[in-house]
Subunit: 290 residues, 2 copies
DNA sequence: AGTTGCAACAGGGA
DNA sequence: CTCCCTGTTGCAAC
């Protein structure tokens, strides 16, 4: 049985659970390899889905995906797109703590909100948590969705996320603080509150620094920190606190976070502190991050 | 000679200068007694007035007050109204550090922005500071002015500022903090950042307390603190840090303020601390004011 | 962590 | 410190 709501909310508070770019990318790659070509025989909505449907987080009661075939699975930012034939996109937002699991047979299935049964006997379960969603839309409606309609640069795309483009984003940041600019998904897409903390720790920047005040050196350091952090997390299959399609945790170790509160900074030994910034906790080294 | 600019700015920094209700009332009473019946022979605008005119803080270049007679001088809140015959109101906002001085003859005149020469040889000088203004308007335009157009209850008016009316103001305060509600001139008029501090100190209230959370007892205590503070200040002719029509300082001693920073609270001995609230400094006793 | 709406904060300008 | 404006952040409720 999956974690209870109270456990999930504890997990949020612990600031460890987050489904961000590396997790989405890892999941999409695995799903694409495992699921492409499979045909959906039946869509199962659990009773617990009622609340999600009421709030518009799940719309599969209106849409019959049975009979469609998975063509490909991709990701952008924190979101996963399952391309179906004919003409459907099945969008997944896992946000914080959602889960997508593959089952070779029904045997391993546990609690879920949505289950897709494939014609070969295997299946996929989706569990939505918090503000996550699982929605099917026509290709023509894709752009109208909040996501993926208006996403910004992908920080793991070498060409797209050039230093020049990154600086342009900073320029547009006006008088905003660096946390805001990095997490505003329409400018750069895929960074959540989790990787943000590691990025700022690596760049030795305080989350409230105004982007307009960053020196050339700091901009460059920040740019490198974003790329290094996310690329390493992708290489390691996502965070140690999230699981993949096969319920296996990632191998990326978070540098800062609730687990480091009060513990010595690996760089200078100062105790890691918790800040509240833009409605979320950010753990920082008060001595390194200026 | 009046205080030099540097002395003014030091006074600002020390959080001591402010032209609030008691100072306005004291000045208006003196002006009324001294000036009523005098006829303006000539209006003098100093060269330094150019900037004030450009910004609309002084409009006497458009209006010829020569030949008019002062009928009466009154105040409401922090503002002084000189009623002229025929049909003019000469409005003064002294804000922080402005000065209005009476001179029996030209001898004592020093630096000024506006000087009114009376037919008996005496004169009045006005010095505008900060965002203060000196403007003449027709009676018909009076209501259209920001002040006195939309002022709230006068806290030294026994009838108007009843406990019931005061509670109604608190009710309208919604989720706002007490400093905001007391200083919002459209609800209660005349309290500035200076007397606010003494009022909250007397009421033993923290400036960030939400008005909606005040208990019955706290409301009553606050009401009494407002009346006691302002009435006493009026009785004493305003703050020791402001001067009157004759360049004499008032006799009201501020309870808290920059001059008390770090010094022991007169009630409990705890060191007075400086807070930043709603864009201004508020000195409090951290132990008394909850 | 999405979104809204209100409240508080920050900076500028004289 | 005073006033007003604007833009940004804090925060709670849904």
């Amino acid at each position: 049985m999956p974690a209870s709501p109270s456990r999930w909310s504890r997990a949020w508070q612990e600031n460890l659970v987050a489904f961000e770019l590396p997790e989405a990318l890892t999941l999409a790659k695995q799903m694409n390899a495992e699921l492409a070509g499979k045909t959906i025989e039946h869509v199962h909505l659990a009773d617990e889905c009622a609340g999600l449907i009421r709030q518009g987080f799940v719309n599969l009661q209106q849409v019959n995906l049975a009979g469609t075939t998975i063509r490909s699975v991709t990701s952008k930012g924190k979101w996963v797109y399952i391309r179906l034939e004919p003409d459907w996109y099945f969008l997944l937002a896992l946000e914080s703590g959602g889960k997508v699991l593959y089952h070779p047979s029904q045997e391993s299935v546990v609690k879920f909100h949505v289950k897709l049964d494939f014609s070969d006997g295997s299946c996929l379960t989706v569990r939505i948590v918090g503000w996550g969603f699982a929605k099917a839309v026509k290709e023509s409606e894709l752009e109208a969705q909040r996501y993926p309609g208006k996403l910004g640069l992908s920080p793991v795309d070498e060409k797209e996320f050039s230093y020049q483009n990154f600086c342009a984003v900073l320029e547009q940041g006006g008088n905003k603080i660096v946390k805001y600019v990095l997490m505003e998904q329409t400018k750069i897409t895929g960074i959540g509150n989790g990787y943000l903390q590691d990025i700022l720790f690596r760049a030795k920047l305080h989350p409230k620094r105004k982007v307009a005040d960053l020196s050339k050196t700091e901009r460059k350091t920040l740019y490198n920190a974003i790329r290094k952090t996310l690329n390493e997390a992708v290489r390691r299959g996502g965070s140690e606190f999230e699981v993949d399609l096969y319920d296996q945790p990632g191998r990326y170790k978070r540098l800062v976070g609730e687990h480091m509160k009060g513990k010595p900074c690996p760089a200078c030994g100062t105790a890691i502190e918790k800040l509240s910034v833009l409605g979320g906790s950010v753990y920082v080294c008060p001595s390194c991050q200026k």
